[in-house]
């Protein structure tokens, strides 16, 4: 049991404290409220609990998964979890006592370094809750940097990201939040230019966007910067070994959902919020950052740094209230990146690209139509003759998770299915998908 004391222990302790019983120690609590009746199920032994959760786990049906939409299935090498589940990592706290936490601190420093390399950015934080909250914090940082009052965001953002952005910024005084529409599945550049008025603080754009389409991010970056505004890019980390990087096209802040880097889907959480920026904005970064330092003998060491930004010091004047990071998810990510190395990461990216395109070609050969004719990475949109919702239901019965129903986002897209293909899919999987979709 997890309450260790024997009756004798309790007696000795109470005697030393000078109390007759434990209840005496709870005298501060209104006595008539003590020990309420609790209607809880009977306690399970570890064995019974194991059985219970195995049964519940089996109620989740394994499907051949073609859904992405912000959470992706990727192969996780065994060494990732073997290492990150070590108690030394798993059961440590935020590394407040740096001398006794060098392991966690160095892994975060290495995470920051690998992400900076992958994103081509100057600064990376120790991580944020998830991609959506990292993006909302980046938009808030824009407002602090240039003191303007309008945030533009692309209609091509993930619908949950849009909602989180609205929630986070709702009560910023004087803020205007405006959506820039898409044209043919990518940002309408003319419309963007029109909306880039002198009051625009930042533009938030996803590339690839929610519809899987690559955006002309160099052009977008030029337009945004010419208007004196800042660019917040929502990137896809596993596309970056291959595609143009936020650093390359000049993003001021680049954020991402890092789950695809070695973390399980787990019904969408925990995720891994990646937050990066240009050097000049380092003091706007929310949450923890680890820096390399020297100990008093000059030995290399690592420590939480630039803490003057944070809530425990600045209280209500802090950039954010965040006081944790997703250390374990960041650890999975850095182990994953280290195991794969630059070549392995590139291979995975190329396999995603290739397999997604192969499926798209196979579907077209079978008579299906792609909704957009732009470039894509590992997600694309198929337009069917019937509502996607129906197709998803039918394919689930055949053991396939067909994709994301875009009818949830827009009525115009109700026959559209957002399909994601990762390196996990074999040719046979692709063929089974095409066969199942025949007739829709």
């Amino acid at each position: 049991m997890f309450t260790p004391h024997t009756d004798e222990d309790k007696k000795i302790m109470l005697q030393k404290i000078g109390a007759a019983n434990v209840r005496e120690l709870l005298q501060q609590i209104p006595q008539d409220l003590l020990y309420p009746k609790l209607n809880l199920p009977a306690a399970l032994t570890e064995q019974a609990l194991t059985r219970h959760l195995q049964e519940l786990s089996a109620k989740n049906k394994p499907l051949s998964n073609f859904i992405g939409a912000g959470c992706e299935e990727h192969f996780i090498p065994a060494a990732v979890n073997a290492l990150s589940s070590r108690g030394e990592f798993l059961t440590a706290y935020t590394p407040y006592q740096a001398e006794a936490s060098q392991g966690t601190l160095q892994t975060i420093y290495e995470f920051q370094s690998c992400i900076c390399a992958l994103f081509d950015m100057d600064v990376c934080s120790a991580s944020h809750y998830d991609g959506a909250t990292a993006m909302a914090e980046a938009a808030a940082a824009c407002l602090r940097v240039n003191n303007r009052h309008t945030i533009l965001y692309s209609a091509g953002l993930h619908p949950h990201y849009k909602e989180v952005l609205k929630t986070y910024l709702k009560y910023v005084p004087g803020l205007k939040l405006k959506e820039v529409p898409l044209k043919d599945g990518i940002v309408d550049l003319q419309e963007l230019q029109k909306q880039l008025t002198p009051d625009v603080s930042g533009f938030v754009v996803a590339g690839p966007n929610f519809l899987g389409q690559l955006e002309p991010l160099e052009d977008i970056s030029d337009l945004v910067h010419k208007a004196g505004a800042l660019l917040v890019a929502v990137a896809k980390p596993l596309a970056l070994p291959l595609l143009h990087t936020p650093g390359q096209y000049g993003a001021d802040f680049a954020v991402a959902e890092g789950q695809p880097l070695g973390n399980a889907m787990s019904f969408g959480g925990p995720g891994l919020g990646i937050f990066t920026c240009k050097k000049e904005f380092v003091r706007q970064v929310p949450g923890r950052i680890v820096g390399m330092a020297k100990d008093k003998n000059g030995k290399r060491s690592f420590v939480l740094t630039l803490q003057a930004r944070e809530q425990h010091i600045r209280r209500e004047r802090a950039a954010s209230n965040i006081c944790s990071n997703q250390a374990l998810c960041a650890l999975n990510a850095v182990i994953y990146m280290t195991l794969l190395g630059p070549e392995g990461l590139r291979e995975v990216a190329e396999l995603n690209l290739e397999k997604a395109h192969r499926l798209a070609e196979m579907l077209q050969a079978a008579g299906h139509k792609l909704k957009f004719n732009g470039y894509f990475f590992n997600e694309f949109v198929v337009e069917l003759n019937v509502p996607a919702k129906q197709v998803i239901k039918k394919l689930a019965k055949k053991g396939i998770a067909a994709g994301y129903d875009l009818g949830q986002v827009s009525k115009d897209l109700k026959n559209c299915l957002l399909v994601c293909v990762t390196e996990t899919k074999t040719d046979a999987d692709l063929q089974a998908y095409v066969d199942a979709l025949r007739g829709f």
Partner: protein, 483 residues
């Protein structure tokens, strides 16, 4: 020799071009078949190239430079570093749970949804509140969720004049930062001489501008707000809502229900009270509960049970504040919270809280002579001590903390709460046995003696860690944040 002994080489310094840890099948075509060159990246530099063995050894050796709960007593006040049963590590990662996609057809994720629904129900039962959202990713995220829920509630009532949040100085540091993020003005109030909310100060601060009073219960000096019902009455009379920061709920679980205090909204920390390991800083989970009148404003969606016995996240919540993060929360952490609550019945939960309180008081009394409690009274789950300046020969709290590392103990939370000078905040937690408590207290007493006889020894600590004291000022002045 120094070179050979170097334990903190970076992975990039061990890297050799051409080494690989994992191989994948070879792509058949060059990417420019699919994407034009202007969208492509030229090369990926500055990433380590290592074999699987190198990688395993690298991270294993790094892990050994950590103190952790599995190896050390870890009495970090306000953080509840208690033992978390190993069963949950395995169970929360079962394939069926790990491979569930958040947008999978609901009939394929009924197992996960059933657990989440039942966890919501269990949390309702132990707090007495009407609804719980599992969406917040951490305690601070829960606070923000709670305050935005309150704000959505007042917005719906068209009550626009409420622009202030009252925060006592014994609250968590995140409370004022949270209120500010929600666009509220923060009104700080001082605590009374007994370390609790000064009712006069509260009354003076309350007005028709007050939206929320944020109370940490038990508060950060480890005391229960014994006037909590009166506080709730005052808050409600002013038309405001009472928010309870429930990060310290392991002092109360099974012993009292928050709803009975008059709390309108609260957050819990599954990674503190409900047995999820801290993972070196996260992920956590900070579910938020609400009384019936504010429940409709919680973030969407909640997990609902349909009349046919299946579970869904597709319910409508027209009054909801919106979404706090993508998807539904840190589900893998929620699974652990559920497992914990299924392993204990009401009687054991009560024992958990009682043990947390017993352990903290035992610690307080063991250390009475060397490090007296700042408020000399019975405490709840943690005790906040201070140093006797005149007896310490210039040895400060930080020195004591570093010296504890030498003796094989992680340090308590220090210099927090801010209202206690040279604070040493010890939370032994409910899972530690008497031997561990006595050994830790003994170490602190030895350090107290050392401060009399050999203060420099303490001031120079730690002596046996992988590194000595770190130049934090230098690190912040010239930040080196990546290789």
């Amino acid at each position: 020799m120094q070179e050979i002994l170097a334990t903190n080489k970076l992975s990039i310094e061990k890297s050799h071009a051409g080494r690989r840890g994992v191989r994948f099948e070879k792509p058949q075509f060059s990417p420019d078949k699919y994407v034009p060159a202007k969208y492509l990246r030229k090369s990926v530099d500055r990433l380590p190239e290592m074999t699987e063995q190198d990688t395993v050894r690298h991270f294993t050796n790094l892990s050994r430079q950590n103190y952790c709960l599995d190896s050390h007593f870890y009495p970090l006040g306000s953080c509840t570093m208690k033992y978390n049963p190993k069963a949950y590590d395995r169970l929360s990662a079962l394939d069926g749970f790990a491979n569930a996609h958040p947008f999978a057809p609901e009939e394929a994720v009924q197992g996960t949804l059933e657990i989440l629904y039942n966890l919501q129900e269990l949390l309702k039962e132990i707090t007495g509140l009407s609804a719980f959202t599992l969406q917040p990713a951490a305690g601070a995220h829960g606070e923000l969720t709670g305050i935005l829920t309150a704000r959505a509630y007042f917005d719906a009532k068209k009550d626009k004049k409420r622009t202030e949040v009252i925060v006592p100085d014994t609250a968590h540091g995140t409370n004022p930062a949270t209120s500010n993020m929600a666009g509220y003005k923060v009104i700080n109030i001082h605590s009374g001489p007994d370390g609790r909310v000064d009712l006069n100060a509260l009354q003076n601060a309350l007005s028709e501008r007050t939206a929320v009073v944020m109370l940490t219960v038990p508060n950060t000096v480890g005391l229960f707000e014994k006037d909590i019902r009166q506080i709730a009455d005052m808050v409600h009379k002013a038309g405001a809502l009472l928010y309870m920061d429930g990060a310290n709920f392991n002092a109360l679980i099974g012993v009292a229900k928050s709803a009975d205090f008059g709390v309108d909204i609260m957050h819990l920390n599954l990674h503190k009270t409900f047995a999820a390991p801290h993972g070196g800083g996260g992920p956590g989970s900070g579910p938020v509960g609400a009384a019936a009148h504010v429940a409709p404003y919680l973030p969407k969606p909640l997990v609902e049970k349909l009349p046919n016995g299946t579970f869904t996240v597709r319910g409508k919540m027209p009054k909801s504040l919106g979404k706090m993060k993508s998807f539904y929360g840190n589900i893998a952490v929620c699974l652990r919270g559920y497992a914990y609550l299924r392993q204990f019945d009401g009687k054991t939960l009560k024992e958990i809280a009682e043990n947390a309180v017993l352990n903290a008081n035992y610690m307080r009394v063991l250390l009475k002579e060397a490090f007296p409690a700042f408020f000399d009274t019975v405490c709840m789950h943690e005790c906040v001590l201070t140093i006797q300046k005149d007896k310490m020969n210039g040895v400060h709290t930080t020195d004591v903390a570093k010296r504890l590392l030498d003796y094989g103990f992680y340090a308590p939370t220090i210099y927090f709460p801010l209202i206690v000078p040279e604070a040493i905040m010890i939370e032994p937690t409910e899972t530690e046995n008497r031997d561990a408590l006595e050994a830790f207290a003994k170490a602190l007493c030895v350090i107290f003696d050392e401060a009399q006889k050999e203060p420099q020894l303490v001031k120079d600590a730690p002596h046996n860690q992988p590194v000595c004291r770190i130049d934090e000022v230098g690190a912040a002045r010239e930040p080196n944040l990546h290789w």
